[in-house]
């Protein structure tokens, strides 16, 4: 009978633990330290020091370390530590100087950039106008995803020692926004041309850091680029990035101070780190957003019927998805990211209007009552499973039975993109929203984004709206076009924007004074790293 007390003890401990735990949820809603910034580094602190960062996953690209073909926001973040772009974006998504100190627009199709004269690659060779021309031409020739974002470029020419002129075939409002992301980085074209540098295995840029070590899916070590034009004011001297997939481990690292800075996918990190001594946690809004694929291309599926797809879209409550799956930290959005200027109001989307009874009636009229559908997602983005489970409840209310299929990322990509039509009913994923409201909508333009052909029809009318949104100058007319584009995307219900994708950043206040913008467009969680200051530096 010696074992009885053990079992009773276990039970008692469990009950006491359970009963005595008071609700400890507290709001740690981030406040801005300055307009547009959740945190601003203390400029009075000395430069230098070693920054320790923990991120949830590593950069993995088919073409290795070539920034021009990089397709993921994580690659842009890490490569952005080494490479610079001609322009960059400010906290309000206005375009700011980068390697170009200024630019003129003699006409709405012509951009004349004046280049920095002190930009030097990390091998000591000064950057030239030929590097800029060669880099942009190489990007255009690559036909990579990002080359599509540059619009229709007629020519790129060096028009002076420190001057480059880009001529477009048609006005394109998003052009500078496209130049502001890492795939448009300026590469060492002389070294690439003579073969002394393989840009797919070696990172050689004009940015603040150089790569000292990289173990795939484990760590990066960045040291200082001694030739960086801003070396005198660069914050941390070195950056150690550890890839830590387990969210709890990153939380623990911020709690115990073994990391200075960490990114979290789970919005509850705001709560889980709340009250931690010497740590601060902030919710960074993103232009990134989650979207739902409703496969219209399988002729044997009821989803081939637009009325059925629209009914499913209408049954989704974006605000509820945000409130339950993302702790209310996300924003409902249409195809123009809700956090960008000029975005269409999600509340006005056509799918927001039908009532539950009308949705049921629409499904019945289409002969699609008691639908059994499968939603496919991948398991490295925990929020997707949360969103899918909320959607499961919402669709059950209109008689749609949803089965969740949670795959590894490789199987997910294979299932969606390897066949046409895609082997899915529904799927969940997210897009980066970039820095201009029309940019991401390019992935809805079937003439441009052929990779969606397996699950989305190429709609000329929708393509025309997308092109118009991209070319019209900012203003009321463009805003109206955005509303029309949002409605068109919403009504076709093939690639349905849901809610924005918030990101949580935690950092140690006893070791780091960072600059963090309130709203990020390119998923760059280390955007202002050169402004960071280590508390104990110097």
């Amino acid at each position: 009978m010696k074992r009885t007390p053990l079992a009773i003890g276990l039970l008692a401990t469990a009950l006491v633990l359970t009963a005595c735990t008071a609700p400890t949820t507290e709001s740690t809603a981030a406040t801005e330290e300055q307009p547009g910034y959740l945190a601003v580094a203390d400029p009075s602190l000395a430069t230098g020091g070693d920054l320790s960062v923990q991120l949830d996953y590593d950069s993995v690209e088919a073409n290795g370390l070539d920034p021009q073909t990089a397709t993921t926001a994580r690659s842009w973040t890490l490569m952005g530590l080494v490479y610079d772009t001609l322009v960059t974006v400010g906290p309000d998504f206005s375009i700011e100087p980068g390697l170009a100190t200024s630019w003129d627009t003699p006409s709405d199709t012509e951009y004349v950039f004046t280049l920095r004269d002190d930009a030097v690659f990390s091998n000591g060779r000064p950057m030239t106008a030929d590097d800029v021309v060669g880099s942009l031409q190489r990007l255009l020739d690559s036909k990579s995803d990002w080359s599509l974002q540059l619009g229709q470029v007629s020519s790129v020419q060096a028009t002076g020692g420190n001057e480059v002129t880009v001529t477009l075939a048609a006005p394109y409002t998003s052009f500078l926004g496209a130049l502001a992301n890492t795939p448009a980085a300026i590469l060492p074209m002389t070294e690439i041309a003579d073969g002394s540098v393989d840009i797919t295995t070696t990172m050689l840029g004009t940015g603040p850091y150089v790569v000292q070590d990289h173990v795939q899916d484990q760590s990066w070590t960045f040291g200082p680029n001694e030739h960086y034009y801003g070396a005198a004011t660069r914050g941390p001297e070195s950056v150690a990035v550890d890839i830590v997939t387990e969210e709890n481990t990153r939380l623990a690292a911020i709690r115990d101070g073994s990391a200075d800075y960490a990114f979290f996918n789970n919005v509850d990190a705001l709560d889980l780190l709340g009250g931690t001594e010497n740590a601060r946690v902030v919710n960074q809004q993103n232009t990134d957003f989650y979207y739902l694929i409703i496969n219209s291309q399988n002729p044997d599926s009821p989803l081939a019927d637009q009325k059925v797809r629209f009914a499913i879209n209408s049954a989704l409550d974006r605000q509820e998805i945000s409130d339950i799956a993302l702790a209310g930290q996300a924003l409902p959005t249409g195809v123009t990211p809700a956090t960008l200027p000029g975005a269409c109001p999600a509340a006005d989307l056509p799918s927001e209007k039908p009532t539950t009874d009308e949705i049921k009636q629409a499904l019945a009229d289409a002969g699609a009552e008691d639908l059994d559908l499968t939603i496919t997602l991948y398991n490295t983005e925990p929020a997707l499973a949360q969103i899918a489970q909320v959607m499961q409840q919402e669709l059950a209310a209109v008689g749609v039975n949803l089965t969740i299929e949670n795959l590894d990322i490789g199987s997910f990509v294979d299932k969606i993109y390897s066949s046409s039509p895609s082997d899915i009913d529904l799927a969940l994923s997210w897009y980066a929203g970039y820095g201009d409201a029309a940019m991401v909508s390019k992935w809805w333009n079937g003439d441009v984004s052929t990779f969606t052909a397996g699950f989305k029809a190429n709609d000329p009318a929708q393509n025309a709206l997308q092109v118009a949104a991209g070319s019209e100058p900012a203003g009321a007319e463009r805003d109206a076009t955005m509303v029309e584009l949002c409605a068109s995307v919403d009504e076709s219900s093939e690639l349905v924007p849901l809610v924005t994708r918030p990101g949580v950043i935690g950092y140690r206040t006893d070791s780091l004074s960072p600059t963090i913008n309130t709203n990020e467009g390119y998923g760059s969680v280390l955007r202002d790293i050169v402004d960071y200051r280590m508390i104990d530096a110097g």
Partner: protein
């Protein structure tokens, strides 16, 4: 050998079953009886949950996120605002059912292979044992992940993994016991009498190693629960919105600091289930294999 062999007493299936039940009832000591009752209560609760909705719907969002235990939600709510009680009941059912089915499959496979290996000996025994050694060479959780990678995450992966993890040990022990039984005189007598091999295996060998199978079955069950829990914890087992003890513990780890009820409840149930099974297994072994020393306490 000369002379006549005494006829082997025969029993009808009904008589054998009655004898088995009586033996089982008198085999467990009081503590093991309590453990069996606890397990039965778990089974009953999960069956009631499925049949009459005891505790409510495991997938319905009914309250605020991460609400602490209260009268409305005795074990609190999870990160989607679902009551943990029905989630836990579904999880217990899934874990126990998966484990029981897997162990039943293990028992059939391991008994068949073990008895054949023990009775035939020689190359047959060597071949079966080497196959078992190959499975043994993999750490159990690595083997389980390998299986999940091949057949895809889900209940089938969990089932196949549990079987592959538990089969080698049970096969080896059944083979050793069968070897000892096969050397006994009554088996030799049956052979000489012309009894067919299948009949010898079933009527003479299987019956005499049934105790070993029962004891190992209980241990395999506790291992199965742990493997299922581990697989689901790693994301290869039961998939959302389904529930299992491992999956619930995985969800709970994220909120361990702010909402400990999410990990305490499934964790305690997991511990109790394994404790009960091990106590029953120990008791069975005390009665059926009295020469062995007890492993617990």
């Amino acid at each position: 050998m000369t002379g006549t062999v005494a006829p082997i007493p025969r029993a009808t299936a009904a008589q054998a079953a009655r004898r088995g039940l009586r033996r089982a009832a008198t085999t467990l000591d009081p503590l093991a009886t309590v453990a069996a009752c606890v397990l039965l209560a778990m089974f009953a609760a999960t069956i009631l949950a499925r049949l009459v909705g005891l505790g409510g719907s495991p997938t319905e969002i009914v309250g605020t996120r991460l609400a602490a235990p209260s009268l409305a939600f005795p074990l609190g709510t999870d990160s989607l605002g679902r009551s943990l009680v029905p989630r836990l009941l579904e999880g217990i059912g899934t874990t126990l059912l998966l484990s029981v089915i897997a162990v039943a499959i293990t028992a059939v496979l391991a008994s068949t292979a073990g008895i054949v290996a023990g009775y035939r000996g020689g190359r047959v025994n060597g071949t079966i044992m080497r196959v078992g050694d190959m499975l043994y060479a993999f750490p159990s959780i690595i083997l389980a992940i390998l299986v999940a990678a091949v057949v895809g995450p889900g209940q089938v992966a969990a089932l196949a993994s549990i079987v592959l993890v538990t089969v080698p040990l049970m096969t080896r022990l059944v083979a050793v016991s069968s070897r000892a039984v096969a050397d006994r005189d009554f088996v030799a007598a049956a052979v000489i009498s012309g009894v067919s091999t299948p009949r010898i295996l079933v009527r003479h060998i299987l019956r005499n190693v049934a105790g070993t199978i029962a004891v190992q079955g209980t241990y395999a069950l506790s291992i199965a629960i742990l493997v299922e829990g581990g697989l689901s914890f790693l994301g290869y087992g039961v998939q959302l919105p389904g529930s299992s003890l491992g999956l619930l513990i995985k969800e709970g780890t994220t909120y361990m600091v702010k909402a400990p009820w999410l990990i305490v409840a499934p964790g305690v149930v997991l511990v109790i289930a394994i404790l009960c099974i091990n106590v029953i297994g120990d008791s069975l072994r005390d009665r059926l294999e009295p020469r062995e020393t007890r492993s617990l306490v």
